[in-house]
């Protein structure tokens, strides 16, 4: 905001060029179904899902610094809410996805209220425990959830509608992030990350703000889970509560730049492509790649690609990036 004005016109041109590139990426992805095979479409759908998870994680963890290792919990809850609604009540997809949003959002409020009192590693590990406890809970609740064998929905071919739903979700997440980042509320969230005591003494109602951000993040992750369940027509606890979902979301956000608008998008494009290339030849390597990448990023480029480009003067220090 302020710093961007230093280099004036050039900075503004760069910023709008960058934004234009991102818009083009979105248009390209939305036109993709016209020209490519279902295989590629499924791959892009998975990349979009990863991007939705990374973007929703970024809203709480990237901005406030409350790193959650349990983000998959909300994805899983959303998946099961939608899955149960489809399998047991045969509701139409929009209703199923809305119930995913409601269940994940309410869970975010109820879990965030106690969990956000913890800070730093305690919060991170606490959320890890929450995700694991939910996975076990869903497994045990066999009559409703199908337990460890998973939940089967009537199979239907919904690749295209699911594809566009996930794309819409990603666009929504980016729009929300941009709205947050360019308004004072974004600065307030970043203030919590910088120093929570200092934030409080300037009059920021930190508890309320954190809770709203956390519940929003949970709702969006839940919607991603709902779309996933609808598309796959089969879910099981190990897959939808997988810690690797969270780890990949963290790796993608950190690679792109946490607390930025387009960081999670950049990170998910890069890591999804790398994952797809290594996946075919080395089936288990992509998890190791994510893990190793987090270590490398934290050590060498803690502010991600966006931060590096800003430090080198390639991109201006604008909060709209």
């Amino acid at each position: 905001m302020v710093a961007a004005s230093v280099t004036g016109l050039a900075a503004r041109r760069l910023t709008s060029g960058y934004t234009a590139a991102m818009v083009l990426l979105g248009v390209g992805v939305s036109l993709l179904p016209l020209m490519v095979s279902n295989y590629i479409l499924t791959f892009v759908l998975q990349a979009l899902m990863a991007c939705a998870l990374a973007g929703s994680w970024n809203l709480i963890s990237g901005f406030t610094g409350y790193v959650s290792f349990g983000h998959a919990a909300f994805f899983g809850l959303g998946a099961y809410a939608a899955g149960i609604a489809i399998a047991k009540a045969a509701v139409p997809a929009p209703v199923a996805i809305a119930s995913a949003a409601i269940v994940a959002g309410c869970a975010g409020l109820c879990l965030g209220y106690p969990a956000l009192r913890l800070r730093g590693p305690y919060f991170a590990v606490g959320m890890l425990g929450v995700a694991e406890a939910l996975r076990v809970g869903i497994t045990v609740a066999e009559p409703v959830t199908g337990g460890g064998r998973g939940l089967v929905m009537p199979p239907q071919d919904v690749l295209l509608p699911a594809y566009f739903s996930m794309l819409a979700l990603v666009v929504l997440i980016v729009a929300i992030t941009r709205a947050v980042a360019t308004r004072p509320v974004g600065l307030r969230l970043l203030a919590i990350r910088e120093d929570e005591v200092a934030a409080e003494v300037t009059g920021i109602q930190t508890t309320r703000l954190k809770l709203v951000a956390f519940a929003t993040s949970a709702t969006l992750a839940g919607v991603a889970g709902g779309i996933y369940a609808w598309h796959m027509s089969y879910i099981d606890p190990t897959t939808v509560f997988a810690g690797s979902l969270t780890v990949r979301a963290i790796a993608m956000t950190m690679l792109g730049g946490q607390g930025t608008v387009f960081g999670p998008v950049i990170g998910s494009v890069v890591l999804s492509v790398i994952g797809e290339v290594t996946w075919a030849r080395f089936p288990f390597l992509h998890n190791a790649v994510s893990g190793a990448l987090i270590v490398v990023i934290v050590l060498f480029i803690p502010r991600g690609v966006t931060g590096v480009l800003q430090d080198r003067g390639v991109l201006p220090r604008s909060r709209t990036l």
Binding site: P184, L187, L190, A191, V197, A198, E200, V201, G203, I204
Partner: protein, 250 residues
Amino acid sequence: MTGGAEARIPEPLATPLLSVDDVHAGYGRVRVLHGVSAAVEAGQLVGLIGPNGAGKSTILKAITGFARVSAGRIRYDGQDVTGVRADRLVPLGIAYVPQGRLVFAQMTVHENLEMGAFTVRDAGARQEAFSRVYDLFPRLADRRTQLAGTMSGGEQQMVAIGRGLMVRPRLMLLDEPSLGLAPRFVALVFETLQSLKAQGLAMLVVEQNAAQTLAIADRAYLLELGRNRLEGTGADLLANPETRRLYLGD
């Protein structure tokens, strides 16, 4: 209590802006304050001095809700604010500058001040607040686009004080504003406190630097082990042989 009549000021007749009455407070099960009282009248600069562990910072934390008050009352401007947290005190006109220069390191100087002013809705009042702070600290005006984390300790302290001033407080609580600063910045901090006092701002200042604080304070309290030990005007305490023996190290 020693020191004779000059160190024992009679209770003021008017209601003080801030009054701390017989407050017991601490963290968890640890008790730090065992019944401390203090008062700040409008426009006064009041010093809190005492050796390490006396509970000076804890009084400020008790006022701002960071330390738990188990007994006693804190009143501000006629209302009971015992246990009210810092974010709710800001709209009432209390600014708190914690110890250790807690600036937002990854934000620019201007953004730090902006954070201080976000409860100020009126755009004109915000502009006025910015120019008031930049007038007080011209150095910050020169560096408004610099990241606060890259500044010297003294400059960061200016940012922290300036951020507190953005809401145009009636009372400012300052915890060790000169701690760890280079000598010329220590002098600047005390000059700043004096000019803020001249503008009518009431302040409650916790300081290690007792002699300089007493020299500019209207009133001061000397605490020891969580209890009031001496009180009086700054000059009284400075002259008091007990203060010198207990604390100034004569």
